[in-house]
Symmetry: C2
Subunit: 321 residues, 2 copies
């Protein structure tokens, strides 16, 4: 069972994933990846994971992409009731957690996948996204990829994650509300404005193609952070058409290959930002991507303000493609 | 020079520390500590750091605790003007960044310091805090300790940091505003309520002495997170009396020793939460401490919601002293 608990003073949510309750010796403080264990994501080991939910196969019937429930889910679909201690507020941690394995090959990095294979990965993600969105208890679906132990990946074999929650998370709510605020004041979508401005100024632009632009955002929180933004105003990632998936994977692959080369296969995160399900407000979906080169520490934890030692203008000049 | 930039959509601040601008090869992706270099924090190497600002000496005249400006400061005291690109908002990154070296010994961990030495560290921190607070351009002073490379410490030799900013950071503002809100609704300080409730319920209490209580907070964001809260209502850390410093160091040392033993010297952060300077609102200062056993990854970056695999009730039963 998992609980959503609220901080008494700030109201900040946290998910306490009770079933994963770990004693000290369960934490591998050295974060080293275990290379010798049998990988549950490799073909032939399907019985080590929950049943297949989505699958894209080759002509011989072998899977190329495979999705299933996360065995160590942070949220649960079985509803149980429980009571918070009288002083505090908490809710049942309802939600959906799934994994999409991006290739049958254990050792291939995301940057080395073929464009065709990458497209299959996104088609599988979108298929699951649309399925999960049918559950009316779900308010937001977070799609992301963690790479590397220090990027939060607990298994080496390349994969994506989907975590769907019964609430709109703070970061998402702030972005969507901020977008409405900007439109109200200026009459234009702020992401469309960024696309236009960054193309003109040129200092923080990294790459572009027909449908997408990659920039180092003006207020980058992390060194070498990048955003991939659709050039046309599009609200939802899940409404991405197949022909645009091709164009997205092309620009994403180029960026990831650049990261892999410049930083010698650094840990990184790719995070999809999209409009909450059923939300009728305006938004402009995009990807936020950051190699994990620095550590958020005491100052960041205490203040919420990130110190970024790399100005995005420098990041853009290094990453420019 | 450093800049405070604002995200166009959410208004979120970030400090771009331009002078630290690092090219890719400057990032040590393996985060390994360099053990063979000369340590600028060791006695005899004082000329490697900026001049001494605070010093506590032994009878022979050797320093036991030493403080100075941070050579790689995230914020600057020299004021320069600059212009943000027309679409965006930014400010000059005014502030003060200092380091307090907690012992002349390079290898001693914080948990192994004598209580007397720990008290000297806090007396030096408080002295510098009060001095920095006299600058009327400063609004908040963040005091913290990073331990271990994965805790964000860039040097091994034990030290604390002070970063003072020209603004009240979001996390701090939310806590202080949340405290006012709670008092308005319930007529009581929420931290005082937590102290009372946790003592009664007992499930999340770790240790207490005459002046302080240690708890695993109900909505712990990190596994084995702990708060040290003064039992009496006290607004400001910097007004801590010398006799209470003794009692604080005693309970803090016990906790850090417990972390060191249970998790084999894990990386961790100690973060002071206190009322902003000149702020006339009500608050209850405390320490927030967390070993860094997990990595905030795609879900946390995208949503702002932390997944904690250790219920604080379990954390308390493991850490109970």
């Amino acid at each position: 069972m998992s609980e959503i608990r609220y901080d008494l003073i700030t109201g900040k949510r946290v998910i306490i994933a009770t079933e994963r309750g770990k004693r000290p010796h369960d934490f591998n403080v050295n974060y080293e990846e275990k290379k010798n264990n049998t990988c549950p994501f490799c073909p032939g080991n399907e019985e080590m994971t929950p049943p297949t939910l989505v699958e894209i196969k080759d002509k011989k019937g072998n899977w190329l992409v495979r999705g299933f429930e996360n065995k160590f889910a942070a949220v649960n679909t079985d509803l149980k009731s429980f009571e918070a201690p009288s002083l505090y507020k908490a809710e049942y941690g309802y939600g959906v957690a799934e994994v999409i394995v991006e290739s049958p090959e254990h050792d291939v990095t995301f940057g080395s996948l073929s464009l065709e294979q990458m497209q299959k990965v996104f088609m599988a993600i979108i298929e699951r996204y649309k399925k999960i969105a049918q559950d009316d208890k779900i308010k937001y679906i977070q799609v992301f990829k963690n790479f590397g132990a220090r990027g939060g990946a607990s298994l080496e074999h390349g994969h994506w994650q989907i975590i769907a929650t019964s609430f709109i998370p703070d970061v998402v709510e702030k972005e969507v509300a901020g977008t409405q605020e900007y439109i109200k004041k200026k009459g234009k979508c702020p992401y469309c404005e960024i696309v236009k401005y960054e193309k003109e100024e040129g200092k923080r632009i990294i790459s572009e193609n027909e449908n997408f632009i990659v920039i180092a955002p003006y207020a980058s929180q992390y060194p070498y952070e990048c955003w991939i933004i659709p050039k046309e105003h599009q609200e939802r990632f899940e409404e991405l058409k197949e022909e645009n998936v091709a164009s997205l994977t092309k620009i994403l692959k180029t960026l990831i290959v650049k990261y892999e080369r410049e930083f010698n296969f650094p840990p990184y995160n790719i995070v999809v930002h999209t409009l909450p399900i059923y939300d009728t407000r305006n938004y402009h979906w995009h990807f936020e991507i950051a190699p994990r080169l620095t550590v958020a520490a005491g100052f960041e934890l205490g203040t919420g303000v990130y110190i970024n030692p790399v100005p995005p203008e420098l990041a853009a000049s290094v990453l420019r493609i």
